[in-house]
């Protein structure tokens, strides 16, 4: 047994030795993403010298960012990171996705573990000011809504008086529901269930008349039911504002601009009818001056951002215009454009002019 104990000691020593040999590579891997030159000051330079964008994404949220069977992240938020990488590095593939949870996402951004959070984060006053972040753009307007059975005949939120409502506790969802009911003098009976699977299970089993969460979540839940989903209806009423978008560290205006205008380029592209398919062709021969400026044929818009002039072409070639990215990722979930239509179609997606 003494031999065993001594062997144990030797094991520890050897393990420590192995760790000592292997750790430099772990450390190297980590020094790459965040070089000692303070990353907050010049994120663009840091990203360029590293050659990859570090993008914090959700560990798994259908349609926004979820790994497929091959382990590749796909989704709307993921595509936005590809777009930023295409603009900044000229290659949409130069992104490293870092999984972040609700709890550690802000630390990851603050500590420089990621350059950008593209992770369905709601833009709110305190996050923008007190936490020291910037929200360059709103890529998805979400909001809390209601889902009912289609045969219940309910079409408006005001008809929900006396209904039982399935809701998850803790988040703002429950609070929003109570506020809305009080403001509209509607009597509702909340059925509070912790886990998502259980709360949706309770709703589909008929334990409550209404299920409330963010509209995107409702649509995804309904889509997951397959053909049976048509027996359910999502009401038009939206009772809270959840503007979701990418988040960057405050104090780096150049990077913030690049992120914001990447989104605007995608929105503008949709407005001008530029798609993944026709972008090269449009860049060659579209006569509209703003399209020419956007696609870098005339003017020096790219240089003003510190990017090559064809940056927007690269973005659109990588992920398509806003509508294409939306349809590709969120369309299969049955999420309607709703407020995310272009401003020309009565929605909120609006890109400032490219001039």
């Amino acid at each position: 047994m003494f031999g065993t104990i001594r062997a144990l000691g030797a094991t520890v020593l050897t393990l420590a030795g192995v760790a000592a040999v292997l750790l430099p590579s772990a450390a190297r891997a980590q020094q790459q993403p965040a070089p000692a030159a303070a990353p907050a000051a010049n994120t663009v330079e840091a990203i360029r010298s590293r050659g990859t964008l570090l993008c914090g994404v959700n560990t798994g949220l259908a349609g926004f960012s979820a790994p497929d069977a091959q382990g590749q992240y796909r989704g709307f938020d993921v595509d936005f990171c590809h777009a930023v990488a295409a603009a900044l590095l000229g290659d949409p593939g130069k992104v490293r996705f870092v999984r972040t949870t609700t709890q550690n996402r802000f630390t990851a951004l603050q500590s420089g573990e990621v350059d950008i959070l593209s992770r369905n984060t709601t833009w709110s006053f305190s996050r923008d000011t007190a936490l020291g972040f910037d929200f360059p753009a709103i890529t998805f307007y979400d909001g809390q809504g209601f889902m009912v059975r289609a045969d219940s005949g309910v079409t408006r939120g005001s008809e929900l008086n006396g209904a039982t409502v399935c809701v998850q506790p803790g988040t703002t969802t429950e609070q929003n529901l109570a506020d809305w009911a009080r403001a509209n003098s509607i009597q509702i009976q909340p059925v509070v269930i912790e886990r998502l699977e259980e709360v949706t299970g309770a709703f589909f089993a008929g334990r409550c008349d209404v299920f409330t969460t963010d509209i995107s979540g409702l649509a995804a839940t309904r889509a997951a039911q397959g053909p049976r989903g048509e027996q359910y209806r999502i009401l038009e009423d939206v009772i809270s504002k959840e503007p979701l978008g990418p988040v960057v560290r405050q104090g780096d205006p150049r990077f913030r601009d690049i992120v914001a205008w990447t989104h605007f380029a995608m929105v503008a592209a949709e407005e001008f009818g530029i798609t993944q398919q026709n972008v090269e062709q449009m860049a060659q021969n579209d006569p509209r001056p703003e399209v020419q400026r956007l696609l870098g044929r005339t003017g020096e818009l790219g240089q003003m951002l510190g990017l090559p002039n064809d940056w927007a072409v690269k973005v659109i070639k990588a992920v398509g215009n806003y509508g294409e990215a939306f349809q590709r990722n969120l369309g299969p979930l049955g999420i309607q454009r709703g407020p995310n239509r272009l401003w020309t179609q009565g929605g909120l997606q609006y890109a400032p002019p490219f001039r």
Partner: protein, 436 residues
């Protein structure tokens, strides 16, 4: 009644006496007194109440088994073409949709590790299992096991990271030759008994780094992309491999007569045991980076690993201390009387007996920690369970959680059950001298 009884016995004796050939042949007892039928009668059907309970249980077990077999095998769907889960949904729960496991098993097992490189984590899993099996066999309990561990862990590191695993150390051809020469030299010297085993072990690690990495020339994969079963095995193996020796030291320290060491150990154990593992992981993942200078980053996996080691260390220390205290005082005094030093006494007399006593609670803690590694999900590391959960996020596969959880559960069970059975054998073997 009594006279009739007597008569019978007398007759029997007569019969035996009359047939000399059969007298010595043992006769089996009647069916109703021994054997399975008797056992059934005695234990399951002894009274009408117990008969009723037995029948009810048989009915329930049979029903449940038939139901399970129908769900898991008869009505199950094993495969669907390109993510079309309609067939599965039409089952409405009467059959399992194993198609989700067929489709996603590689994601569940290997997480977001690059798809074309999956053979590497697969090999790592096999290496781990082989390492466990070799370490479990008593015939391999010798010093050379340390070399095996060091070599296997180095190989695991090379396979998982790929690329040039130890940068700046190796890739020159002359270094490869040097590594080979060192390994041969050290091996020879060790066999001849000139040097201890630390040198050949170091030479082996060096040679593996010099040869396997460059020769296989695998692309580099950063830790963010690791996931699935290898993560669970890495966290559990390294966690327990470091925590166990740590816990022995802490347990000894807690019983030490030196006040400073004693206080330190008590403080460590009580502080760590006073908080849940999840909050330690939070500290490691959320608070710790904020204390570091900006731009400096210690890898998330490493932070979680250290948190697990510290936590497991505190719990195991208390288990080991239990063993130390159970030892009669006479053992310590006898060792002292022999004039043994503290470390001789501890290594030769105290620990061998103490650890043997605490095998069941030790394995209990080991199994607990193997499963606790799944808590790393809250800091965004994809262990086996998290990978399973994430696999069913995709809309096409939502709602097939049961199948995925059964699959993941079976994997956890295999490892935990193996540990438990092995510990029972070990316990029986090591405590053989106590059984009389």
């Amino acid at each position: 009644m009594a006279p009739a009884d007597t008569t019978t016995r007398v007759q029997l004796e007569t019969a035996v006496a009359l047939v000399p050939g059969e007298a010595s042949a043992p006769r089996s007892p009647p069916m109703t007194a021994a054997g399975p039928v008797a056992w059934l009668r005695a234990n399951l059907f002894s009274s009408w109440l117990s008969t009723a309970v037995t029948l009810l249980l048989i009915y329930l077990i049979a029903r449940w088994t038939i139901g399970f077999v129908e769900w898991a095998f008869v009505n199950a769907i094993w495969e669907v073409p390109n993510n079309q889960t309609q067939a599965c949904r039409e089952l409405k729960g009467i059959g399992a949709c194993w198609a989700v496991v067929t489709e996603k098993h590689r994601f569940i097992l290997f997480g977001t590790y690059p798809y074309e490189e999956h053979w590497r984590p697969a090999l790592v899993i096999l290496l781990f299992v082989a390492l466990y099996v070799v370490s479990a066999m008593r015939r391999f309990w010798r010093k050379e096991l340390v070399t095996v561990w060091a070599g296997a862990l180095t190989l695991i590191g090379i396979l998982m990271w790929g690329g040039n695993t130890a940068p700046g150390l190796l890739p020159q051809p002359w270094e490869q030759l040097l590594a080979l020469a060192l390994l041969l030299g050290a091996g020879f010297a060790y066999v001849r008994g000139w040097i201890g085993m630390v040198w050949p072990t170091a030479a082996l690690v060096y040679a593996l780094l010099a040869w396997v990495g460059p020769v296989l020339d695998m692309p580099y994969v950063s830790q963010e992309r690791w996931g699935g079963l290898p993560i669970t095995l890495i966290l559990a193996t390294f966690g327990l491999a470091f925590a166990f020796p740590l816990s022995i030291l802490v347990a000894l320290g807690r019983r030490s007569s030196l006040p400073a060491i004693k206080t330190l150990c008590v403080l460590y154990v009580e502080l760590i045991r006073g908080v849940p593992l999840i909050s330690l992981l939070f500290m490691a993942s959320v608070m710790f980076p904020l204390f570091l200078p900006e731009g400096m980053n210690i890898d998330k996996l490493l932070r979680a690993q250290i948190a697990i080691i510290l936590f497991a260390g505190a719990y195991l220390a208390e288990v080991v201390r239990g063993g130390l205290q159970a030892l009669p005082k006479g053992q310590y005094e006898a060792a002292d009387a022999l004039g043994l030093t503290y470390w001789q006494k501890t290594g030769l007399i105290v620990l061998p007996q103490a650890l043997r006593l605490v095998i069941p609670p030790l394995v209990n803690t080991f199994i607990g920690f193997f499963k606790d590694t799944s808590l790393v999900l809250i800091i965004g590391i994809f262990d086996l369970l998290t990978a399973g959960k994430t696999a069913i996020v995709e809309p096409a596969w939502q709602g097939f959680g049961v199948e995925v959880y059964v699959f993941v559960g079976v994997i956890y069970f295999m490892f935990c059950f193996a540990m438990s059975r092995y510990s029972q054998n070990l316990e029986a073997e090591l405590n053989r001298h106590r059984r009389r």
